[in-house]
Every structure is written in structure tokens, then in C-alpha cells.
């Protein structure tokens, strides 16, 4: 687990650092959604697989946005575990792998993505509130607004799908024995 | 010059040194220009039990004990009883025995042989630091006609590390023995023809197998000790580091087989040696070697089974498990040396074959071949080396999306990358797989890979080495392993009396060689099968694998009682006619 006691302002003192965080966050989200899409494919949940691929594509665009914003700047080189995501070891946006289920429905998938965006909002809010550098604070607020927009978009998207019944995860067959 | 040989047995108990005496006598015989063999037999005690050294010397190379022994030297009367079945005597045999000492009230077993009491222990006491076994050495050397100088040369070498006093005492004892033997009946030993130093070797089958392994290219061995294979491992433990190789003592046989598979995956030709119980433990992982196509050699020095059986004695009863013990359809190689010196060639060839075909090879040696020490002609170094088909760096096979580790190809042998080679990454797998090595449960992939693994082994060109065939005629003896020795001697004797008999000693037991076998059996009307197995494993294998023409007779018995040439002659008597002596 990442050390929780440090103030992220000690890590994020410059806009370059903030951009590095932002880039890592979006790139991890692409990876994560692609991974989840593949999991769903293997388990023949193609509707949700397509949705995750779509989410990965959207996150890919966010990666491009951050790269554009970083043009001409030299971002610090941080290893995956050198980022401090405040309340967990993982970058906030991608959604957690352990929340996946092979029978999950589009509603769940969007819920998972939405929670990620909400965590991203919380993260950048925290950075903005603790920033000592004006530029960092300004950029963090912009990122909060952007992530908040994503949350709202996902909320609208989610409304298009019914909330699943309580027995959504019933499997009519027993597990398969492999080896 | 015809064969003349002498058979000598020494027995003793309580750490009396008969093995040392026997070894020195054999080496002295070798130095003098004789060929010879020596086997050991012992009671169950680790130290102090009854022990016997069985020697035979000759002016021609030997592969078997004789039908009976000419001379027995017992350091105490009780020690001989345990070995009566292994030391058959004739009326004209001689037993020299120190009737004093040993087990209380012990007597010599009832035989018709002439008994001579010689107080060797008392004689040794008269020499400062003297030992009865060195008296025995002097006695035996004199009786069989070895010059005292040849014994002294051996003493100098053997006792160098023990200091001048020990050497002096031993020399004095040998001298006493020579003097005492003047009054004993002398035997006519084989003619002594001097040979230049180095032309003859003294080697055991187990050492020979180790030598064959390293000559073939083996540089990694994992080992768990087991009788009677331990000497192979001990020899390799000191020899491999000289060659930049290594022997790892593993925690069990499951570890040793898997360690060698791991090392071979890493590109090092690898081997382990074991005996029946260890082979049984290894079979699952030998199947892994088949499926993942990682070459390894497993040398099984067979002993009496089942279970712990008789761990120190010979039997040829791991044939079934070696051929059929792997689960699933698992094509692999099974080979057996046809003589003690052939342990070099067959093990070396096995390394070559395993590497060439990326498959496991089981070599079935046995206790008799492995633990016999022989004076032999220096064996030739046959140029069979480990050569694995490896894709060249930058070869097209590695340029594609995924390296096709298990590509079917024409021969079934697919080029195998070695870790470290860029672009050649794959996962070796015991799961059935596609040509690229991805796990697959599809019929088509299973069939294709089964065909591949089978074809590469059945389609290989083994040349003439699959068996040793000699002689002519319409009667044939088919045998294998340590049974070949007494069979060869039996046939030599029969042929000397005009009999026309063919011999087939099978070296390559799996895969079967139907075409070669048909050619060998051409015109054969009678077959004798000789094997050391209670359930006729070899006979059943031959029946299952080949069409055997004409009358088929089986001469089988379990271990530990070795075959004698005379017994095989008896089996053939009514087929050969004429003088069968």
C-alpha cells in the first residue's frame, strides 16, 4: 500500500508533475478497460465487452488530450508505484479489476467506470485544495471540472440501461473443472 | 589362442577387507595383461556383514561369470554360507579357508570341493600391522600365477596415502601369503601377454554410463541417491565440474526429474540416474518432457522389484514401466546397453537421440552391468554428440507474429529456441497446445501434436545401432541388457563346436523397429528369449511389438541369480545337436 501519511502537495509541486499524474491516470484507464473488455470477451459477455472497449477508446482520447497539454514540457519519469494516489495504491480512474463479474451488465460496467471518474474528481480536488503553487491549483481545478463532466456523461449513459435485478449474477451451470 | 579363464571367489565378514583384496587382485591381473571382471555380493548390513568378491580373469575379454568357480578363499568359514547359490563349485574346486574365527561354531557349507585350512589371521598377527586380507592377496596371486611384482605395484598405488608403515605391513603380508601358497595346489592361469600401459581400462558399468553421458554432452545432472545407481551420480558429481557442468543433489526424485527438465529447457543437455522406485516417481514428469518436447535422459539402473525388492541385486523388470509407464499417448525412447562397455555408447547415443528429437530417453542399465568392474580394451570415442535443432538468430521463423515452437514441419522436430534468444519466447507446456504453444483442448490440435510427437520418433533414422546382431543360421537367441553377456559366451562356446546360431541383442527398445526386426528374423525358425524377469516382460514386449516366427522358447527367471553360460547352452541343446560342452 502506498504511504497515506504524505501530503500530495509534496509530490505534486509543479504542473509537469500534475500532468504526469494525469497522463498515468488516463493511460491506466485505457489499460484497465481493455483488460476488462478482454475478460468479458473470454467469458462471452460481448455486450459488456463492447462497452468496455468503447470506454477504453474514450480514455484513449483523454490520453491524447493530456499529451497535447504536455507538449513542450518535460514530465517527470515516475514508476507505477511512485505515484501517490492518496487513498489507494491504484490510479483512481480505471475501475478496480476485482469489481468485475462475468455476468455483469452494461449498467454495472458504467457504474464501475463512473466510480472511477468520481475517484478521479476526488483526487484532483484534493490536489487543488492542498496546492501551494497557483498554476498547479488552477490546472487541478480544470481537471476536476473535466472529470466531473465525465461523471455526468456516464450518469446519462447509465440511465439508458435498466438497473439489474437482484439475481443478475445467477449462473444456471456449476463451475467447470479445468485441470 | 582359445579362452582360458579362472574364477575366484573371496568371502569374509566383519569388515575383513575381501572387497579391497578382490579389487587389488583384479587390477593386478589387468596390469599383468589379463582381462577380468569382478562383482560384489553382500549381506544387508552397512558395515561388518558377510561380503563376497567374485572374480574371473581371462586372456580374452569377459562379459559373464563362468558356470562354476575354480577357487574360493574364505577368511572365515561362516561367511561363505550366504553365497552358496552364487558360487557354484565343482568336485575339483578348491576352498582355502581360515577355519578359526568368524561366527561361533560356523562351518563351511557342504560341498564336494577340496577344503584346505590356512590360518591367515594367525599369519597376519605375526606381521606388525598385518591384515589377513593382504595375506589372502598374496596367497591368491601365487596360486593363480600372478607375479609378486604386479601385486606390489598395485599396493604402492593403493596405499600411497596410508603411509610407509601400512605399505610395509601389506607388502610383508603379501610375501607371507606367497610363501604359504607354495604348498597349495596351483592353478594354470591364462597365458600372460604384456600390454602397454593405458591400453586397458578398469571401469564399472555405472562409471561407463557416466562417461557416455558427458561424452554425449550432458552438463547438468540432478540426483537423488538410490542403489544401485548411486555410483553413476558419484562419478558425475566429481567429473561434471571439470567440464563446467554441475550435479545438484535434489530433495527427491520428483525434484531431480523436474530440475533436469528445467535445465534442459535452458539449453543444457541434462540427465538423471535412478533405479526402479525412483523411475516410478518420475514417470509423470517424463510425460511432461514428452509433451513440452524438452529432451532429457533418465538412466535407470534396474534392481529386483517390486517396491524396495532386493535393492542390491540384479533384475530386468523395469522394462514394462519404462515402455508403458507414462500416462497418455507418450512416445519416447527406451534404450538398453548390451554390455558393460556399451554403457558408454548407449548412454552417449541416448543423449544424442534425446537432443535430436527433443524427447525423453530412458536408458535401462541394470545392477549387474552397473556394479561389475571389468578390465576391458580402451573403448573408442564414438562421435555422437548432443545437437539440438535451434533456430538461428534472425531466422524467418522468429520474424512472424508469434514464434511457432511446436510447428508441425516435415519431420516433427521443430526448432527449439533457448531462453535468452530474442523473439523466440514461448511457454513450454504440459497442456496440449497449438503450434504456437497456446493451450488448446481442440481435437485438431491434439491430433496434430500427437502425430508430430509420434512421427519425429518413429521416422528417425537410427541406422544399425538399434540392435547388435551377429552369427548366422535359423536359430536365434534374442536378449537384452546384462543377459547378453552369458548368452554371448554360451554362443561362443557352441559356435566353437560348430553350431550355427544367430544372436540379437536389442539396444533400442522403443520405438519399435518393425522393418529392421523383420530383416533380422528372415529365415529364423527357432527363437530362444533370455531375460531376468519372473513375468517374462521382455517376451511379452516382443510378442506385442513384433511377429515372432517359428518355435519360441523363453528362458526366464527373476533376479538375483545371474544366468550362467552353461544354462543357456542347455536351453539350446536339442536345437543345436552335437557336442554342447
Amino acid at each position: 500500500m502506498t504511504d497515506n501519511t504524505r501530503n500530495p502537495t509534496q509530490l505534486i509541486g509543479t504542473t509537469e508533475e500534475l500532468l504526469a499524474y494525469s497522463l498515468a491516470l488516463e493511460e491506466e484507464a485505457v489499460e484497465r478497460f481493455t483488460e476488462l473488455a478482454e475478460q468479458m470477451e473470454v467469458h462471452n459477455n460481448h455486450e459488456v465487452a463492447d462497452l468496455f472497449y468503447k470506454l477504453a477508446e474514450i480514455e484513449g482520447k483523454h490520453v491524447e488530450n493530456v499529451r497535447r497539454a504536455s507538449r513542450g514540457k518535460e514530465l517527470p519519469n515516475l514508476l507505477a508505484w511512485e505515484f501517490d494516489w492518496i487513498d489507494q495504491g491504484e490510479s483512481p480512474e480505471g475501475g478496480f479489476l476485482e469489481d468485475a463479474h462475468y455476468l455483469m451488465q452494461p449498467w454495472h460496467a458504467i457504474e464501475l467506470a463512473k466510480q472511477g471518474e468520481q475517484r478521479a474528481v476526488a483526487f484532483f480536488k484534493h490536489v487543488a485544495n492542498n496546492a501551494t503553487d497557483k498554476e498547479v491549483e488552477k490546472m487541478a481545478r480544470e481537471l476536476v471540472a473535466e472529470e466531473q463532466e465525465h461523471v455526468e456523461l456516464l450518469e446519462q449513459w447509465q440511465e439508458r440501461f435498466p438497473k439489474p435485478d437482484d439475481d443478475w449474477d445467477d449462473d444456471l451451470d456449476p463451475p467447470t473443472i479445468l485441470e | 589362442m582359445s579362452r582360458q579363464s579362472l574364477s575366484i571367489a573371496l568371502s569374509g565378514s566383519g569388515g575383513s577387507g575381501v572387497m579391497t583384496c578382490g579389487s587389488m587382485l583384479l587390477e593386478a591381473a589387468g596390469k599383468a595383461g589379463w582381462y577380468g571382471i569382478m562383482t560384489r555380493s553382500a549381506g544387508p548390513q552397512i558395515r561388518g556383514g558377510e561380503a563376497a568378491a567374485l572374480l574371473r580373469v581371462s586372456n580374452e575379454p569377459l562379459e559373464s561369470h563362468d558356470d562354476s568357480f575354480d577357487l574360493v578363499l574364505a577368511l572365515d568359514p561362516g561367511s561363505l554360507g550366504r553365497f552358496v547359490a552364487e558360487i557354484p563349485l565343482r568336485d575339483d574346486s578348491v576352498i582355502i579357508c581360515d577355519m578359526a574365527g568368524g561366527r561361533r561354531n560356523a562351518t563351511l557349507p557342504e560341498t564336494a570341493a577340496r577344503e584346505i585350512d590356512l590360518p591367515m589371521k594367525k599369519m597376519a598377527k605375526a606381521v606388525k600391522g598385518g591384515r589377513p586380507n593382504m595375506i589372502a592377496l598374496g596367497v591368491l596371486a601365487r596360486v593363480i600365477g600372478l607375479p609378486e611384482s604386479s601385486i606390489n605395484r598395485i599396493l604402492d598405488k593403493a596405499l600411497k596415502s596410508k603411509g610407509p608403515d601400512a605399505l610395509e605391513a601389506s607388502r610383508a603380508c603379501v610375501k607371507e601369503g606367497f610363501i604359504a601358497a607354495v604348498d597349495l595346489p596351483a592353478f594354470t592361469g591364462p597365458p600372460i601377454v604384456a600390454v602397454p600401459d593405458g591400453e586397458r581400462w578398469s571401469i564399472t558399468g555405472n562409471e561407463a554410463a557416466g562417461l557416455g553421458a558427458v561424452r554425449g554432452g550432458v552438463r547438468f545432472v540432478a540426483a537423488y541417491p538410490i542403489t544401485p545407481a548411486t555410483e553413476v551420480l558419484e562419478w558425475l558429481a566429481t567429473s561434471l565440474p571439470k567440464l563446467g557442468g554441475v550435479l545438484v543433489q535434489a530433495e527427491d526424485e520428483l525434484a531431480s526429474i523436474n530440475q533436469i527438465i528445467g535445465a534442459s529447457f535452458g539449453g543444457k543437455p541434462s540427465l538423471t540416474a535412478t533405479s526402479g522406485p525412483g523411475l516410478a516417481l518420475m514417470t509423470e514428469s517424463i510425460g511432461l518432457s514428452v509433451c513440452a518436447e524438452v529432451p532429457v535422459v533418465v538412466l535407470d539402473v534396474m534392481r529386483c522389484g517390486p517396491s524396495t525388492g532386493i535393492a542390491t541385486k540384479n533384475e530386468q523388470t523395469d522394462l514394462n514401466i519404462a515402455l508403458n509407464g507414462l500416462h497418455g499417448d507418450a512416445p519416447h525412447l527406451v534404450l538398453a546397453p548390451t554390455s558393460l562397455t556399451d554403457c558408454i555408447f548407449t548412454t552417449q547415443w541416448a543423449v544424442h537421440l534425446a537432443e535430436a528429437m527433443q524427447a525423453p530417453a530412458i536408458v535401462l542399465s541394470d545392477q549387474s552391468l552397473g556394479q561389475t568392474r571389468a578390465i576391458v580394451n580402451a573403448p573408442a570415442d564414438i562421435a555422437f554428440l548432443a545437437k539440438r535443432e535451434v533456430p538461428e538468430p534472425g531466422e524467418e521463423k522468429l520474424q512472424g507474429e508469434t514464434y511457432q515452437r511446436y510447428a508441425i514441419g516435415a519431420t516433427g522436430v521443430s526448432p527449439m529456441t533457448i531462453p535468452g534468444q530474442p523473439g523466440g519466447q514461448y511457454t513450454a507446456d504440459g497442456l496440449e497446445h497449438t503450434e504456437a504453444g497456446a493451450p488448446s483442448s481442440l481435437y485438431a490440435d491434439h491430433l496434430a501434436q500427437l502425430d508430430k510427437r509420434s512421427n519425429k520418433i518413429t521416422g528417425f533414422n537410427y541406422g544399425e545401432h538399434w540392435a547388435d546382431i551377429d552369427g548366422t543360421g535359423d536359430t536365434m537367441v534374442i536378449t537384452w541388457g546384462s543377459a547378453c553377456g552369458p548368452v554371448r559366451e554360451a554362443l561362443t562356446r557352441l559356435r566353437a563346436h560348430g553350431a550355427d546360431i544367430k544372436m540379437l541383442a536389442i539396444r533400442l527398445l522403443a520405438p519399435e523397429r518393425p522393418e529392421d526386426m523383420s530383416a533380422a528374423l528372415e529365415g529364423i525358425k527357432r527363437i530362444l528369449i533370455v531375460e531376468q524377469s519372473h513375468s517374462k516382460q521382455f517376451y511379452r514386449y516382443l510378442r506385442a511389438a513384433y511377429d515372432l516366427p517359428g518355435e519360441v522358447r523363453v528362458f526366464n527367471r527373476p533376479g538375483p541369480l545371474a544366468f550362467k553360460p552353461g544354462e543357456i547352452i542347455e536351453q539350446l541343446a536339442d536345437w543345436c545337436g552335437g557336442d554342447k560342452s
Binding site: M1, A24, E31, E35, E38, Q39, M40, V42, H43, N77, L78, L79, A80, W81, G89, E98, A100, H101, Y102, P175, I177 | G30, K31, D197, R200, W201, S202, L211, R215, S239, P241, L243, G244, G245, V246, V248, L254, A255, N258, I260, I261, G262, A263, S264, F265, G266, G267, K268, S270, L288, I375, G420, P422, Q425, Y426, T427, A428, D429, A438, P439
Partner: protein
């Protein structure tokens, strides 16, 4: 080192083979796969110089999913395969992976002796306290009163195997526990384990969402151990006395030299070996 995610050099995803895992979605092993690829990327080892070795079980499918060399062997023998490879090829980075059944039950003897032998390699055990591939039987690390194992319907009634205790007692040179809920922390620990000479054990609590769904709660229960790693086995042992299995972090970093025989020839010509046989 370069950034595992955003930097130059080989990225984490380039250590994946592209074969899609058969694990159940939600399985902790997905995260460990991510940790492993991030660790390899962090170390920037060329994939051809890495070998991932495994036995049988869900987590033992790991090698197939990586772009390194790999060996998926038989049940319980991963450490023996890996030891053979490492001794024969000390130049390679050898990592064994597997589960609690493979490593501590059928492979228990090899675990003991590999700790003892201390070859320079890393063993990542994804511990879910259950046999997943055979449909949910109790494993050596299962708690004694777990009654859902079909072969032990009244619970196993026997003490769970304690990997860290056994590893310490047997001589492992680096001992750590991670949680699959912390992908980056696990990646960091794997890097440390690979770099530390000798045999490194990394136990990863990795939930089985199919047969032990309650393990999803591990995420909330695990916590970093309150103390730093020690090089003193006695201190490490005392810490384990109060360990309930949910502390994460590096417990022990020893300084025993790894097992690695020299592989340098002492003679020029193999024919020199013949001399000992000549009369």
C-alpha cells in the same frame, strides 16, 4: 528505470503475450499479472532474459500470459523446474509463480528445500486458500472451520500451513506478503524480491471470487505492517507470532549467499577424463 506506464523503454503491456487469461473476472490473479508486468517494466529486463515457471492451477497459467520465456509444468514441481533452469542458466531472471495448493501441498517438499537451497530466484504465490481449478476444495492455507470444501464438508479441522513461518524457518532470503488489491505496491515488492539475492518468497493474497467470494473483503482488511523489514530472523519470527495473515509488506531480508555452483571448466579436453580408467 523508466516509467512503467508512461515512460520510454518497454512498457508493462509489452510483457503480456496477448493470450487472454481464462481466469474469472474479479480474480486477484489479473491484478498480479499487472503487478508482474509493471515490475518487469520497472526493471527493464528484456523479455527473452526472463523465464516464468509454474506448475498447475489457476495462477499457474501465468507464464502463458507473458511475453517472456515460460514453462507450465506438472502439478507441484514449479520450484524444481525453476531451480534446474536457474542453476544451469544463472544469467536468466527466473520467477516461479503458482498457488497455495501447488506450492504448499503437492509441492511442499520442494518449497522447504528451495528455501534451504536459496537459489537466486523469486517465487510469487497467489494464495486464495482454495483449489479453484478442481472446483473449490480446501487447500493447505484454508482455515480449519471452512465448511464449503466439498471434500471436507465439516471443515478440514487441521491447522493451516503458514507460508511465511515455514519460509523463514527453512531459510528463504527474502519474505514478503502483498495483496492483489494493491497492484502497484505488489509490483514494487516484486521488484525488490527480484533484486534481492537468493530465494525470495512473495505471498500475494489473491481472492477467488468464485469459490471464496467473501475474500473480496480482504481489500478492506489488509493493512501495511507497522514495521520495516528486518534482516534478523529472530525478530522476523517474533513478528510472525502476532501475524494474523493480513499484514502486508516485506517481512525479512536475509544476507545468505545464493546457491550457485560455478560453471567453469577445469580441464580443456574431455578425453582427460579417460585417464582415471587407464591401467
Amino acid at each position: 528505470m523508466t516509467n512503467a506506464t508512461t515512460g520510454t523503454g518497454l512498457k508493462a503491456r509489452e510483457y503480456k503475450s496477448g493470450i487472454k487469461p481464462v481466469w474469472c473476472p474479479g480474480c486477484g490473479d489479473f491484478t498480479v499479472l499487472g503487478s508482474l508486468t509493471k515490475a518487469l517494466s520497472g526493471l527493464q529486463i528484456a523479455p527473452e532474459n526472463v523465464a516464468i515457471i509454474s506448475g498447475i492451477g489457476c495462477s499457474s497459467r501465468m507464464p502463458t500470459y507473458l511475453s517472456t520465456y515460460g514453462f507450465h509444468g506438472v502439478h507441484g514441481r514449479a520450484l524444481a523446474l525453476a531451480t534446474g533452469l536457474k542453476v544451469a542458466r544463472p544469467d536468466l531472471t527466473v520467477i516461479a509463480t503458482g498457488g497455495d495448493g501447488d506450492g504448499f501441498s503437492i509441492g511442499g517438499n520442494h518449497f522447504l528445500h528451495t528455501c534451504r537451497r536459496n537459489p537466486d530466484m523469486t517465487y510469487i504465490v497467489m494464495d486464495n486458500q482454495v483449489y479453484g481449478m478442481t472446483k473449490g476444495q480446501a487447500s493447505p492455507t484454508t482455515e480449519p472451520n471452512w465448511e464449503k470444501g466439498k471434500l471436507t464438508p465439516s471443515g478440514t479441522g487441521i491447522n493451516p500451513f503458514q507460508p511465511l513461518v515455514i519460509a523463514l524457518a527453512s531459510g528463504a532470503n527474502f519474505i514478503a506478503r502483498c495483496s492483489s488489491s494493491d497492484q502497484n505496491g505488489t509490483a514494487r515488492t516484486i521488484v525488490e524480491a527480484i533484486r534481492h539475492p537468493g530465494f525470495s518468497l512473495v505471498q500475494v493474497l489473491s481472492p477467488c471470487v468464485t469459490f471464496r467470494p467473501e475474500q473480496r473483503d480482504w481489500k478492506k482488511l489488509v493493512q501495511p505492517a507497522p514495521v520495516e523489514a528486518t534482516s534478523d530472523p529472530a525478530r522476523a519470527a517474533r513478528r510472525l507470532l502476532t501475524d494474523k495473515g493480513l499484514f502486508t509488506g516485506v517481512l525479512f531480508k536475509g544476507n545468505r549467499p545464493p546457491y550457485q555452483p560455478l560453471l567453469e571448466p577445469g580441464i580443456d579436453n574431455i578425453a582427460e577424463l579417460d585417464e582415471e580408467f587407464r591401467l
